[in-house]
Symmetry: C2
DNA sequence: AAACTTTGTCTATCGGATAAACTAAGTCTT
DNA sequence: AAGACTTAGTTTATCCGATAGACAAAGTTT
């Protein structure tokens, strides 16, 4: 059954508009909010009153007069509650306790021993425990948990398939909700990374964003009109398996020429193939060190990876026309040597109109994109946004 | 300024829900509508009254009793007005007069002589003229015009760039609105095709749809959550320039290995390259005739085109996870010989989960996808849909 | 024919948004 | 310093649409 209109909906919508306006542009006076939103002053006053009672908004004192009575400034109260953002990696669990503005209050991480769901869940519980103990006293307490996982997640939070963990059909959301007693949001790692960069990082205020997460694989999180796009069944963003060589290298997915074989850490394994000198190391950290000392083979490798990244990004750009592309993930440790070739390739190959306006940049949050994005999804669910389009 | 909530919005939303419910599921009684939508019976009665006054809904008489008073059945009145859908091709203008349900009342087409905007506009006017004369007398008369063009169109209807016409920055919408005095919707050819197939063709009731239009080039129309996705500046869907061979054939766009060089009619020009026998013809109609009589070179060609179409479609599927892919456009005249290789390739290369649920099919509306889609966009704008997401 | 069912309307009420009047609290002018 | 002016925020009366529930209308079943 669809959403129908009634007074409750109107109120919910307007309240969400007022809160959002204050959150993004505060401090603001009631009159400012009224002018910005188009809502009547009385309406703003009423809704603000409720937000004050809910402790989501604070009066921070008088502002500057502009020739009349001084305004009482309103500010979003990020300290009204806490959330926990978790990144469940293949070998590592990272978690952060944040306030409602994404400010980190505490952080933990732990290696992931076994990979069966039970063992992983135990590690998650252990990692989160000290964060809960460190939680300050707030009006709302813990309001939610967000978690990013390396796999495909449907709209209900069910992990459909996580090849690198060997999981299939794991209802992580229910399990965590039972454990912690708060609402849980589960999403793909690239998606939460996209959410993080869009809210707190390189993609602020961007309507259409593609976040490319490059590590052992390659995945994309796509934000369309400010919202994560998950596709029909939650498999959107598997761009690592976009073929950029129709008859290229055979991939474990069964296809050929997949992007991630050329433009992620998986490319390291193929270097000797070209007959060139073998690589002096096999991890990005080590290779970055060699690059820093001028190792020609490594520099070539990263130039080629940059070029291939550029080719794939160009494909995404031509299909999606995002406002911005943000590249993140472990591979960005080598961004210094990847970036020039990547940008050159995009400049060469993207359609002229895209080139003119497109912005491509690297992650601003670094290794925290995912935890912060996961945290943000939880905040976002707690604050509950209503959207209307005519 | 954003949309805020007030009573007018609530009414607009509910009225749009009622109309939509009747339109898609009619005939229905008022009680049926109330049950389906969750709206109160009184609300439905009130809104229906207005819709009856606006002639958008008709009472078609009494229905079957289910043990009590007979219901008065309501039906969407497609004859309340007319729209015109236009496909502005590179060499041909096609136009259709339809009612509000997409029923074709009259059709015209005319070759496009010169390609400068003024000449094209004159041809459009001449093509539309007899349709206007054939227009039946309806309560609302002509309520809008939709037009699909081979180029990139931004959200305001401005044609940013149409390489095949040599147009740049043409405000077709304003021009046509001045001429005809009704609201005009302009969009990309692939987008209107997508709209057509989704409303009246192979993509009915599909939430996320990708329509691939294959002709002299290759373009996609993407429908996300029931709405056309245009990207940040209207360039989304330029998938013809997705590279499927990183260092492949040089394309006129400046890039290499573009999909449309391998999987559209542009591929015909490259056959001799492989050293094989030259093609016996150069248009799809002629080649289809040769295929029908078993010409091996032509059959090979179409097998290869099918394979390449499959590769590109797999890429789109992995990125977007649409519910359905519909292939249309002039090239589908040869679908008989393209389809097997295309489907095999997708089955081989798509990720296992996609494969399981994805539906790929050819256009149901054939050469009318675009005109009907354009007409539908005009209808849709006239009826005005409001959407709320929580 | 009486009881029951279903359809659709009528009526009173509720709860939001709004404009306009009003109070509060400042600045500016002379 | 006093009055005029400005701006901020609240109060009041009004409007409007959705809703529940009563009711009327028009069937069917026994």
């Amino acid at each position: 059954m669809r959403v129908t209109g009634d007074l409750a909906l109107v109120k919910k919508l307007n309240k969400s508009i007022v809160l959002d306006t204050i959150r993004r542009n505060g401090p603001l006076s009631r009159t400012d909010v009224s002018e910005r939103t188009g809502l009547n002053k009385a309406t703003v006053s009423n809704l603000t009153l409720e937000l004050l009672e809910q402790k989501l908004v604070e009066e921070t004192g008088l502002g500057e007069s502009s020739g009349g009575r001084k305004p009482l400034m309103l500010l979003f109260n990020g300290a009204a509650g806490c959330v926990i953002g978790i990144e469940l990696g293949v070998t590592l669990v990272k978690a952060a306790l944040t306030d409602l503005t994404g400010g980190i209050l505490a952080e933990r991480s732990a290696p992931l021993a076994g990979q069966d769901p039970e063992a992983a869940l135990a590690v998650v519980r252990e990692t989160v425990k000290p964060l809960l103990e460190a939680m300050p006293d707030t009006p709302h307490g813990l309001v939610g948990i967000g978690i990013g996982v390396p796999g495909m997640v449907d709209e209900s939070g069910l992990i459909l398939y996580a090849p690198n963990l060997g999981w299939e059909g794991v209802d992580l959301r229910s399990r965590l909700e039972e454990t912690f007693g708060v609402p849980v949001v589960v999403d793909n790692e690239a998606n939460v990374g996209a959410a993080g960069e869009r809210e707190y990082g390189a993609g602020r205020h961007v309507r259409h964003l593609v976040y490319v997460s490059a590590g052992m694989g390659l995945g994309s999180g796509m934000i369309i009109d400010g919202q994560l796009y998950k596709g029909a069944w939650g498999y959107a963003g598997e761009t690592g398996h976009m073929s950029i060589e129709s008859d290229g290298r055979l991939c474990s997915c069964g296809s050929r020429g997949c992007w991630e074989l050329y433009a992620s850490e998986r490319a390291y394994a193929y270097v000797s193939e070209a007959g060139s000198t073998p690589l002096p190391a096999s991890t990005t950290s080590e290779l970055a060190a060699h690059a820093r000392s001028g190792d020609a083979a490594v520099l070539d490798l990263y130039r080629e990876i940059g070029r291939r990244l550029g080719i794939g990004i160009t494909n995404l750009v031509n299909g999606f026309n995002p406002e911005k592309i943000v590249v993140g993930g472990p591979l960005t440790e080598a961004k210094e040597w990847i970036e020039p070739a990547m940008l050159d390739t995009i400049a060469e190959r993207a359609l002229p109109y895209h080139r003119r306006e497109l912005a491509v940049s690297f992650s601003e949050l670094g290794s925290r994109s995912a935890v912060l994005g996961a945290a943000h999804l939880a905040v976002s669910q707690f604050l509950g946004r209503v959207r209307v389009s005519l």
